[in-house]
Amino acid sequence: MKQRSVSAKIAIDMFAVQMGWALWYLGIVTMIQIVRLIFSAKNGSRIEDFFLSTGQSANIFMFVLGILAVYAFMPAFIRNGVTRKEFFKGGIAAAAGLALALPLIAGVMALAERSLVRLADLPVSYHSAGMIDSGGDSPSSWVRTIIRMIIVPVFDIPLADLQENGLLAIALHALNLAFFYLSGWLIGAGFYRYGGPAGLGFIVLALFFFHLRAFLWKKEAAESLKQWLPVDTFSIPLPGFIFASLALIFIMAWLIRLLTRRVAVKL
């Protein structure tokens, strides 16, 4: 039998461990979703379905996993004779697997949820993807601006409705997850390599990537920052956005590789 390559083994192992954590996350989202459904059925408030709900929170989950990628896995693999390159390849493959698996699971859960609501004839009304907003035009104080700077790109994220265009919905969701995982990984790699103060620079860098992508998605995301921007806000058509997202993911992956290619393992 052909020996499986080391990076394939790493991909499988990292996927399995992180998927185990993801099941916890999905369990918690399921419980919250049940509570929201009950409330919505009682007082008629609009909610997001399971898919759109994870469309927001899963990004933060993936971001945290990304931060842990270096600290929780890399030294352990290297101590077992794995090269940094093999770890990187395996880690990327595992991240891609997670980014695809979560939207698929969330999609199935959303379908089940909507069927249940229909079967039980519950008076629940759902938000559609376009209705999720980050707060609209509020008077800008500097505190608000800073909060928006950090919050907007995390919550104001590109999503589509599963019912309208399933493939696009899954693809956008997966792209978001991959993007957030890699931005976390980038921060983790920066901290691992350079330590405290310089590591903070990588948080700024990740924030820059968040914003850049949010701007590309829709110009409203940039409205509150308009005063600080050298150019007018703009948005690009969907295929262009998907391409740009892939390009950003690729750039972040490349930066992570540069940071960890020859990194010293801490004892």
Partner: protein, 288 residues
């Protein structure tokens, strides 16, 4: 296996931990790496384990640069006193990971060592005592059967009887599956019998690399009546002196010639070898 360090230096910011090290380790031997605190032992070993790259110079294994080399890295294991207080994995999980990634890992042998050291498989590593953590490291290192196995002071947490088990297992497994071991230690007098070859580091430089037998023949211990011993050792480099009543034992640096040996015997003096510990202290001690 052939390991070569060529003009290797390692600097941390401005501190130079290793200075122009040139070394050659070859064959299936047990190397003892000795040095005082801060001499650069762990720095040297992290380089050999490819945990980091040298600032200057090259390190090759069988003629190839070993850093990030997928063919060589699985065959080098580096075990050291790690801080396990955040390691929530169980002993079993840690061993399973080694089994998955170490090509020559021997599960049966690992199980045997687990029994020998009475390791609790299901316990999280962070909950093990220091001694048990050391035993786990030793089990990992031995059962992985890597061509180059480095033990950096892993035995510190073990009690004396457990260390004895380790020494015995090391020698037995080395006989069954000959390979290169590098043991760094402070327990010189306890471990010297294990070494085929000794490397002594001092202030980031290699001061000695020599076969154990040859190294200990660099000095002699002369024992006998004080009145005969004193004139006999006059003018020689004295490493150590001990006295009991009228009997005096003097450890000298530098081998005896045949003629001196014969003269010592004819004068009724006992001539014995020097201990590695005494030599080590002599070669790296004093002028601080």
């Amino acid at each position: 296996m052939r390991v070569e360090f060529n003009g290797v230096s390692l600097r941390y910011n401005t501190f130079e931990a290793l200075k122009q090290i040139t070394l050659r380790l070859e064959g299936e031997k047990i190397y003892g790496l000795l040095g005082r605190n801060g001499a650069g032992k762990t720095s040297l070993l992290t380089l050999l384990a490819a945990y980091r790259e040298p600032t200057e110079g090259t390190i090759t294994v069988n003629g190839q640069i070993h850093f990030e080399n997928e063919k060589i890295m699985p065959d080098i294991a580096f075990l050291y006193e790690r801080d396990y207080k955040e390691e929530s994995e169980t002993v079993k999980e840690v061993l399973e990971m080694a089994e998955r990634y170490r090509p020559a890992y021997d599960r049966e042998y690992a199980e045997y060592l687990v029994r020998r050291f009475k390791l609790p498989l299901e316990k999280p590593v962070k909950k093990l005592s220091k001694g048990m953590q050391s035993a786990m490291n030793v089990t990992l290192g031995l059962a992985s059967r890597t061509a180059i196995t480095i033990f950096d002071e892993v035995y510190l947490g073990m009690d004396a009887p457990t260390r004895e088990i380790f020494y015995r297992e090391l020698l037995e497994d080395q006989t069954r599956h000959p390979r290169m071991f590098i043991l760094s230690t402070h327990l010189v007098s306890e471990m010297d019998h294990l070494f085929d070859e000794v490397i002594i580091l001092d202030k980031g430089k290699v001061v000695v690399q020599e076969a154990y037998d040859r190294l200990v023949s660099r000095g002699v211990t002369v024992t006998g009546d004080e009145r005969i011993v004193d004139p006999f050792v006059e003018g020689k480099k004295i490493l150590n002196e001990q006295r009991l009543g009228k009997t005096k034992s003097v450890t000298l640096y530098g081998a005896f010639t045949e003629e001196e040996m014969a003269r010592a015997r004819s004068e009724g003096l006992d001539v014995g070898p020097v201990s590695l510990q005494d030599l080590f202290i002599f070669l790296t001690g004093e002028e601080d």
